[in-house]
Every structure is written in C-alpha cells, then in structure tokens.
C-alpha cells in the first residue's frame, strides 16, 4: 500500500522508536502531518540513562531529550503529550483519546513500548516501593537515594544491577534478591554471571541468590522485605526490576495480530497494511537467527522506527543489523552483540580478572553473539561477523596475540 503521499501519520508512544520514526519520516521526505500521542508529559527522551548517569544525578533532564521542542514545531509534528490513546477504530481509521477526542490516521505506528512486570505480593503498594521505567519513576526515587539508606532490589537483571551500581556509588546499603541461582540468568552465560556477581560483591552489594520475596512489610511505608524462608531484610527503599511486558493491549483490542507483542513483518508492518509497530512492543523477524522475537533495546527501537518510516514512504528497506545492547555498571562497559540463545560453545578471550574480556557464543561453529566487557574491538568486530554469518574456530577467537581486526579480516 502506498502511503507516501498520505495526509496523516499518527504515532502512539513517545519513546525511542516514536522519536526515530518522526525523524526518519521527515528524512525520507514525508510531507503529511505527523501526530505523536504520548502518555508522559516530557518530550520524547532517552531511557538508558535512567538507570545510569541520570539516576546518579549527573545529567539534566533536557539532556535526555532527543530533540528540542522547536524541532517538532519546525517539522510540523504535533505532540499530544500527557494523553492516553484509548482505542483504535480501524474501520474509521481513528485513534480515540481521552476526553472523547479522536485523531484520524492514514498510517499508524504503534510505538507503545512496555511496562514493568508487576510483583503480585502484599505490600507492593507501600510508599517506598518503586519500578524503574520512566522519568517520573526516577524523580520519585532519586530524592530518597541518600547515603546510608537501605535499598532492596528485586531482580538481578540489567536494570537491577545498574541501579545497584548507582546506589552503591551514592553510598546506599544495597541488597539484591534473585530467584535464579545466578545474576543475569535470563540474559547471559554463567561466565558473565560469575564476573558481575564478583564485581558487585566487591563493591559492597549483598547478593542473595535462590531467594524469593514473599511480602513487603510496613505501615504505610516500607519497613522490610520478607523472604519466602522468613528472613526479614530491613529496607527504606524496595526497587522492583523483574522484567517488562509489551504494551500490546491497544493493538490486540483493535484486532491486530499479537502474541506476546504486536506481530510485524520485516518492514515493521502488522496484519493491517496501514498499521506498523516498532520497539519494545513489537515481535519481529530476527533475520540473523531464522526466527521471530521481541527485542528490548535501543538498537531495535531505532531500526524498527526507520523500517516503519521506510515502509510508509516506499523506500528500500534500511539495514537490519544484528541486535546489540550495552550496560554500564561502575567502570565496566558491557557491550553485547547478537543473541546467545541456542549456543553450543562459549569461548572466553582475555582474562576476567583483568576486567577486560569477552565471551563469544558459537552455534555449529558460527558466531551468534558476544558479551564484551571493556572490550570495544571484540564487540564491534563481532557485530559485523554476526551480521555476515561468519564461522570462526574457538582457538582463533581465544588467541590474544592476534587483534580482533586481524581475526575479523581473516574471517571475512
């Protein structure tokens, strides 16, 4: 369907994918009106710093914005903020918003993102219990992050561990609870888990593995986290970081195909040719892996935002990079390329004790992912090799007498 000369494109959502779609539509020459409907009050902003530099208080809010307000005005982009989209009427091609308003579309981009998974336990509504997803969450939690305060973090994923690192740097007493038998269990291998476990403990974080929170105790305000085995951990702050769920209800309610996210093709198009989805909320073909999946990352939001805009404008499909991610904790820069699911071999290059090493993941001899700690060459070389589908021998990757540049050149 040719939508390139259509009059109205509506984007639901105000995060990275939405901002990218706006910029890409204008860059590709879209001349119609663009309306962005966002639930939050702030201009579209970057989320990664929320659990890193911004949480630490090192960045002003304005520095999180992708574009200043004037940019939207100059580009004929109508920002409808602090506004919830309530229903999509595909027959009439309108988005129904709060207070009875309607916004008409020719093309619609769902960039509705995700929300924190709720911990269904008693006390989760007490004052002092927080999620970490939005600017507003950080505004609430940061004034309480004073030295000496006791913080219990539920979930040792990236958000939980990044927050733990910030909290220790602000001199809080930090305990991390994890149900699995290692940190980062859902996202990486034991070798990385062991490394991050050691680093956090060395910085004074108490990590409790195989432990489950059963209730949060307090009279109006948090007093303690109570574990399944009865242990009580006194706490002033409880931060829940147990994953996110895609916001696909609005799409599903309109009859758009969803399954743990909004289903899209390679061009970010849903089963309705006028409706696209991008970012955390979308399930997409993972072309380097021969399957579909949902990715929770900046790279994915940017790429799908561009893919949706290119589809609307009838432009050639932009590059599909292998997925990539990063995480900053203390002075450790972790850069991840690819998806390690299904690997049958792990090769470690460098020495974790030197806090500079990489874990490569191979499947049938083919490189499918890397976790690189303070090792940009390993990350950047792998990103290319994975995208190209290169095969590499374990001993080649392990050989630190050869640079990654040499290894990549030989494999190409």
């Amino acid at each position: 369907m040719d939508l390139s000369t259509s009059e109205n494109t509506v984007i639901i959502g105000g995060g990275q994918a939405a901002a990218q779609a706006c910029a890409a539509l204008r860059q590709f020459g879209y001349e119609g009106k663009i309306t962005l409907i966002g639930e939050e009050a702030a201009l579209p902003y970057q989320r990664p710093p929320l659990s890193k530099a911004y949480m630490k208080g090192e960045l002003a809010e304005e520095r999180l914005y992708f574009k200043p307000e004037a940019w939207y005005e100059n580009n004929n982009i109508d920002l409808v903020l602090s506004m919830r989209a309530q229903k999509i009427d595909r027959a009439r091609r309108v988005v129904e918003i709060e207070h009875g308003g309607e916004i008409a579309y020719d093309a619609l981009i769902m960039a509705t993102g995700s929300r924190p998974r709720v911990l269904p336990i008693e006390g989760a509504d007490l004052d002092g219990v927080f999620d970490l997803r939005n600017l507003a969450d950080v505004e609430r939690i940061r004034p309480r992050m004073m030295g000496g305060q006791r913080m219990v973090i539920v979930g040792a994923g990236y958000i939980g561990l990044e927050a733990a690192a910030v909290a220790r740097q602000l001199d809080l007493e930090v305990t991390v609870l994890e149900m699995a038998d290692r940190v980062l269990a859902r996202v990486t291998s034991p070798v990385m888990s062991e490394f991050y476990d050691r680093e956090h403990r060395a910085k004074g974080v108490e990590i409790r593995l195989n432990s489950q929170i059963s209730t949060i105790k307090g009279d109006g305000k948090v007093e303690a986290a109570v574990l399944a085995d009865g242990t009580e951990l006194p706490a002033d702050i409880v931060l829940i970081g147990i994953g996110i769920v895609p916001n696909d209800d609005l799409a599903a309610g309109a009859g758009i195909a969803c399954k743990d996210g909004i289903l899209t093709d390679r061009d970010a198009r849903t089963n309705d040719p006028r409706v696209f989805a991008a970012g955390d909320c979308a399930v997409r073909p993972l072309v380097h892996y021969g399957r579909t999946g949902r990715l929770e990352s900046v790279h994915n939001a940017i790429e799908q935002g561009k893919l949706a805009a290119a589809s609307i404008m009838g432009k050639p499909r932009p590059n599909e990079d292998c997925p990539w991610f990063w995480s900053d904790q203390y002075d450790l820069k972790l850069q991840i390329a690819g998806l390690s699911t299904g690997h049958d071999e792990i090769v470690v290059r460098g020495d974790p004790a030197e806090r500079k090493f990489a874990a490569f993941y191979l499947k049938g001899g083919r490189l499918i992912a890397v976790d690189a700690v303070n090792s940009p060459p390993e990350f950047l070389a792998s990103k290319r090799l994975i995208t190209a589908g290169a095969s590499l021998a374990a001993e080649t990757l392990r050989d630190t007498s050869k640079s990654m540049k040499e290894i990549a050149a030989a494999a190409a």
Binding site: A23, R63, K67, W71, W324, W326, S375, P376, P377
Partner: protein, 106 residues
C-alpha cells in the same frame, strides 16, 4: 556559546551553537545535522558519531582516550584526525571548531 561548524561529505557547512560542557554530538542531534547517527545517545557504545577534526584544531581537541580509540579502529574510513563526536565537549577554546562528517556511519 562556542560555535562549531559541521561540514557534510559534500562540503555543505552547518554552523551550530554548542553549550559549554555539552558534547558536539548532542548539539548535532538537536540541530538535526545529517551524518551523525549517535545511536547510543553518547554512551561511547556504538561508534556512529564519527567525525574528522579540522587539522587546525587537532591540538586543542586532543587525542582520544583508549576506549574511544579502540572503537575508532573499527569505524569506516578512519583517519588520523578521526574522533567520536560524543567525546568532544565544547569549551570557549573550541569556538570555531570545524568537523567533517563521513558519508556513512554504518
């Protein structure tokens, strides 16, 4: 406010103002300077904000730190005056700085 001139690969110049302490990458994004992708938003994680620094300013801008240098090694068409613009922070000393963007960041 220091002024920085971004020159695209076809030679078109775009002078922009950069607040003191802000990276020239951030200013480029806010002013929609083409040729700067900066996918990671300035975390020194992606190497998509590569620029070439005008020779006259090489000393004032200084050399990249180790992490940045190792990322630059993998950028396309890297030159001795290559830098990641997220790691160049504006100051009065850099007023008038000229940088050129490469044809592609990927």
């Amino acid at each position: 406010m220091p002024k920085v001139v971004f020159i695209d690969h076809e030679g078109e110049e775009r002078p922009i103002e950069v607040s003191d302490g802000e990276s020239i990458m951030e200013a480029a994004l806010k002013n929609s300077v083409p040729g700067i992708d900066a996918d990671c938003g300035g975390a020194c994680a992606c190497a998509t904000c590569h620029v070439y620094v005008d020779e006259a300013f090489m000393d004032k801008v200084g050399a990249p730190e180790e992490m940045e240098q190792s990322m630059l090694d993998f950028a396309e068409n890297v030159q001795p005056n290559s830098r990641l613009s997220c790691q160049i922070f504006a100051s009065e000393e850099l007023d008038g700085l000229k940088v050129t963007t490469p044809e592609s960041q990927h």
